[in-house]
Symmetry: C2
Subunit: 406 residues, 2 copies
Amino acid sequence: MPKMKVLNGNMLIAQSGGPTAVINQTLVGAVLQARNHGCIEKVLGAKHGIQGILNEDFVNLGRETEANLEKVAQTPSSALGSVRKKPTAEDCEKIFEVLKKYNVRYFFYIGGNDSAETTHIINQAARKAKYDFRCFHLCKTIDNDLRQNDHTPGFGSAARFVASAFMGDNQDNRALGGVKINVIMGRHAGFLTAAAALAKVHPDDGPHLIYLPERAFSMAKFAKDVKAVMKEYGRCVIAVSEGICDSKGQPIIAAHTKEVDSHGNLQLSGTGALGDILADELKQRTGISRVRADTFGYLQRSFPGVVSPVDAKEARSVGTSGVKFAVKHFSDGSVAIQRKPSKRYAVTFERVTLKSVAKETKHMPAKFIHKDGNQVTDAFIDYVKPLVGPLPVIGRLKDYSVAKQK
Amino acid sequence: MPKMKVLNGNMLIAQSGGPTAVINQTLVGAVLQARNHGCIEKVLGAKHGIQGILNEDFVNLGRETEANLEKVAQTPSSALGSVRKKPTAEDCEKIFEVLKKYNVRYFFYIGGNDSAETTHIINQAARKAKYDFRCFHLCKTIDNDLRQNDHTPGFGSAARFVASAFMGDNQDNRALGGVKINVIMGRHAGFLTAAAALAKVHPDDGPHLIYLPERAFSMAKFAKDVKAVMKEYGRCVIAVSEGICDSKGQPIIAAHTKEVDSHGNLQLSGTGALGDILADELKQRTGISRVRADTFGYLQRSFPGVVSPVDAKEARSVGTSGVKFAVKHFSDGSVAIQRKPSKRYAVTFERVTLKSVAKETKHMPAKFIHKDGNQVTDAFIDYVKPLVGPLPVIGRLKDYSVAKQK
């Protein structure tokens, strides 16, 4: 790795975008690592991402005890507060003025691809002004859709929640029958929805059908698929991504909601609309009477106590690695998790360019999606299994037969 | 306790109504206890409650190993399958014929108040026919609405899920702001919704507002309450029972769904409709832009790995006690959990009459509901806390201030 000159100054860290169950592990990893480097003077946190920088709304993280930070690390959702804001050119100028005023030489922004884009813009402004500055994006997103990353912190825990939920819900559906639709987060990438497949213990377990945003969704095909499963198992559990679109790329939910954020993203979460649309259509098209839909919603990303140990550990390392890179090796970049090609699961933490992570999202590769477009492949199971940790035990009665009395 | 004569014959057990996370503990408790009594010959399970009796769809639980039963005990949702069916007079006759045909002398039906009613009807038929028969209802319901019970098996684990979910969701709302509505199960009784209050760690934590079916719900009052919380905290987390009704007793969701089960119950779960109705109304009435609604749905009752240890233990004891009562002390009844008036939490398992548990539901007593009708009292917290087990650690940054630079 290259070696950078010593740069003295303050550090600023902030969190952005949708929270995760382990995003504070990354924060705490970075804050504790900073304490090992004399060149980092004050350690500041901005409240609510770049909004806090614009408002000079800072907290002193240097005064936090390690014991309290460790409690924060275990707590889901962004402890510094989050924001969904794309900075304007004017914002960037202002942000940059603030960074200079507080002698911030180390900047870390924890977020997804939108946040990587923001970090990239701020970094470009600093380069243009020849401001000596170390600027890093620290990856997180339950969607698992960041380029350059094998997977992202937050995904493993959200996947663990989704898989656990389906394990229980499959039992619920076995008990009461009918069709159960569960709508999972993931705007453009189906990884989290696909993780529902980990719930399968027995061959007849759900999810029997999995619909991802990577494949065009057709109501007619959907109804046909469900009828086939009902015929085989007498019940049907379905995982559907909130982001499913028709063959023209129009989100299925689009007719029913119009709210967009400042990145132009449509509101998909925090509403049960998609589940209800699908349930109603299915009842009409198939005549099946018991059709239920749940939308897992924000529980997926912020549920305490259902955390993947691997995910928590890796999220911590992303924070630690970011600070090490910034102090010693690179002026800017994003910390990416890459998987070693070894048989036993292992990862490395690499520095990649901001631009290579920013804006665009990664999708489920074709090898992970079954050719019928309504299930995942074994290759996906192999990929996702090490990320979630051991799942709950699911027992089943052996159903020893009883001879009918005459 | 009275002493009954020895009655030799077979045992039949079944599960009914909405599943819970610990309903199989009760099943396994009863099945293992039966092995201690020579008078109980075969131990049969009926698939899908009384439907399985009508169809003579039985499994031999006597052949199950203890090891497999212990796995089943840990698994959420009814392992024998469940049913929502109110038997007709004709059904009762048929059920009774089947019981006689299989020499069933011990019958246990695990369920809520509707199932207690079914057990009562079957028992009456047996008495009328002078059939020597031990007939017990074993309580369960996440709604916690059974008369004669301090609380019911399944409630503690569901309450643990709801409280955990609110702990995480409160952090999510702190990070991103706005209004968050979470719709909780509970048709007529608000206990489970009220359990969300356990999520409060700091005085400004949500849920800031709690709406229960025991108090008339007014949209205007709701909007006013939310505006007041937004003014005080700049954000608002709300727990709403799926069963909230207006001042005329009309469910708020009623205009939007018409599906009823054979007990005449309206479909409230498995749809996000109520949350969306409330979110839309709130946006219109207050002008608040970020309003999100999640419906926790079936996750509340069947999530594996989020089980209250107290609840699991008590559910097991209900099964054990039921068999003991039936073999030695009573010809019929329901097993009720009653709390000792001691300072330290302790319960006893009592036999109560079937009729006293059947049909009608228990509501949140007035002493548990804040006079404003939008929060719970400390008395409720004292009541519910021992039932859920230790909750996750929630940490928070100390927010040490940073002097503004000029």
